[in-house]
């Protein structure tokens, strides 16, 4: 869907490239997360995809077409690509309703289609339309403004979304909630998304695919599991942090390591110590600690399918991270 081929960007007046020979591909319906330290070129990549910045080398393709083709009008291109900018950038002189309706109005949608669309979008991002629609940005909190920013980018239902730290300006608890809500939305929307963050946890949680950047270069890319279980170098290891194993547990479903049995052990029953098969292994660990048990029962819906023990978890950790240790 989106493809970058050896893309370079050297800003005028600088010698060090902001983006250096970057190639990767984002498949349709996937979330591709760019992660890396400040200044590593994440924003610049997004801005090249919608042509706010022209690359100095390489090619960018959307649905097989080069975005730099003469026939592509950058303004029209951008109306087809939702963009959530890092600084939010709501228009302070316009109401929330007008802000969200910006692209549909540019596309000359009929007014009677815009009103319900705005209402729907505000509800979708968890805002009360009657309450906020006629307010101005300065009357909203940072988190609410970010939601409006996301709603604005979604307004014309673009197949592609570029999201630059869309949940950056909120505290970790609200961020977690916004992430959950967004993933739930994405299940229905199936958009192709480029998502920027400098939070590796957010990347692991949101990404189907992760691109790790450092100093303008692509250091490693792959699924979260691939990156966690096989970090390419010291930089990636540092980025992932020392709790790599725990993160892996978050990514593994309990059903993958369950010891199948029909009999419910007594201790599990007594301590009421159960989890669901689709819960991450992390949850098994938490439940064990909470219930003070070293065995946990696993259910698939109502039916019991087996157990996970403390030993099983340790073995699993050794298996996935031990090979390259």
């Amino acid at each position: 869907m989106i493809k970058l081929d050896k893309v370079d960007k050297v800003f005028p007046g600088t010698t060090v490239p902001a983006v250096d020979q970057v190639s990767f591909q984002v498949d349709e319906g996937n979330i591709c997360v760019f992660v890396g330290p400040s200044g590593c070129g994440k924003t610049t990549i997004l801005r090249m995809i919608n042509r706010l910045v022209e690359p100095t080398g390489g090619d960018i393709y959307i649905k097989g077409q080069k975005v730099s083709d003469k026939g592509v009008n950058p303004d029209y291109l951008r109306r087809e690509i939702g963009y959530v900018i890092q600084q939010i950038g709501l228009m302070p002189h316009r109401t929330i309703e007008q802000n969200v309706a910006l692209v549909p109005r540019l596309l000359k949608w009929p007014e009677d289609k815009i009103k319900p669309r705005v209402k729907h979008l505000l509800e979708m991002v968890g805002l009360e339309p009657d309450e906020v629609a006629q307010k101005y940005p300065h009357q909203l909190s940072g988190g609410m403004m970010q939601r409006v920013g996301v709603a604005r980018a979604l307004a014309a239902d673009p197949p592609i979304m570029l999201m630059d730290e869309p949940f950056g300006a909120v505290d970790p608890i609200v961020r977690g909630r916004l992430q959950d809500e967004f993933l739930r939305l994405q299940k229905e929307m199936k958009k192709t998304i480029c998502f920027v963050t400098h939070d590796i946890n957010e990347a692991i949680k949101m990404g189907d695919h992760i691109v790790i950047m450092n100093k303008g270069r692509l250091v490693q890319h792959g699924t979260p599991m691939e990156i966690l279980s096989n970090p390419a170098d010291e930089f990636v290891k540092d980025l992932i942090g020392s709790d790599r194993e725990i993160k892996l547990l978050e990514l593994t479903r309990s059903e993958e390591i369950v010891e199948h049995t029909d009999e419910i052990p007594e201790v599990v029953n007594k301590k009421d110590c159960f989890i669901q098969a689709i819960d991450p292994v992390q949850r098994a660990l938490e439940t064990m600690m909470k219930k003070d048990s070293d065995l946990v029962g696993v259910r698939d819906g109502e039916s019991f399918i087996g157990t996970i023990s403390w030993e099983d978890i340790k073995k699993h950790i050794n298996r996935i991270s031990g090979d390259q240790a």
Binding site: N50, L52, P74, D75, Y76, L77, R78, R79, E80, Y83, I85, Q86, Q87, I88, G89, L90, M91, P92, H93, R94, T95, L102, V103, L106, Y136, P137, H138, R152
Partner: protein, 236 residues
């Protein structure tokens, strides 16, 4: 003085001492009307051309940075020239001579500095993330100018218009020395006749016009400025 029952009592004394200009205005009512009308029409003419000309120039230099310094240089030089000189220079140009054209041209030049500067500042004060968002949503440069930059710059542009109107109203009085028959004439003749009443009458009337115009513009500004921008103004 009959108006207030003769020249006895404390009020009459107070009136003679401090409010002589009021009876002057009443006595010369016809002239007051004529001069006020002329004053108004000169200011409005000047403002009309200034708005068209200087807002365009302001927008132009906000786009073409290189022109900005030249424009500000010219504006600054014009501003250092005393009003009376500017009027004087224009009347010695044969095509123009004494009268309204010279007066209006000089005043339009005076308006350059505050108007152009504020338009430029206002446009430049729009933070780049907002422009970036506009571009990112696919707005064309003209749409960004008319839907983002100008509406957001309104408070600053309007401040420039108000300052200019007040200034032009005041300086227009000096045009009486090149033949304008406006409220400055009361001051001009007041000096010649050493009449405090006449001078004060002229000064008060001009100030009233200036304050009035400023007030009306303030109302208009409030009407057309987005409520979303008002809080930011309060903070200044």
């Amino acid at each position: 003085m009959e108006l207030f029952g003769g020249s006895t009592g404390w009020f009459a004394g107070f009136y003679d001492e401090y409010l002589g200009f009021v009876s002057f205005i009443i006595r010369r009512w016809d002239q007051v009307i004529e001069y006020t009308f002329n004053h108004f029409s000169l200011v409005l003419t000047v403002m009309f051309f200034s708005l068209v000309l200087w807002i365009s120039v302001g927008l132009l230099i906000s786009r073409y940075e290189k022109l900005a310094n030249t424009a500000f240089g010219i504006g600054n030089i014009l501003f250092v020239i005393p009003s009376i000189s500017l009027f004087g220079i224009f009347i010695t140009i044969p095509m123009l001579g004494l009268g309204r054209t010279s007066a209006a041209l000089a005043l339009i030049l005076y308006a350059m500095m505050p108007m152009v500067r504020n338009v430029y500042r206002g446009i430049k004060s729009v933070e780049w993330p907002i422009i970036e968002a506009g571009r990112g949503m696919g707005m064309s440069p003209l749409q960004i100018l008319f839907q983002i930059q100008i509406p957001m710059a309104w408070p600053v542009i309007f401040a420039g218009i108000r300052v200019t109107v007040v200034m032009i109203t005041g300086i227009a009085t000096v045009a009486t020395y090149i033949g304008e028959r406006n409220l400055g004439r009361f001051i001009h003749h007041g000096i010649a006749r050493e009449s405090a009443d006449m001078i004060i009458a002229g000064a008060v009337l001009v100030s009233i016009i200036a304050v009035l115009l400023d007030f009306i513009l303030g109302k208009i500004e409030f009407k057309i400025t987005s409520p979303g921008l008002r809080r930011e103004q309060d903070q200044n």
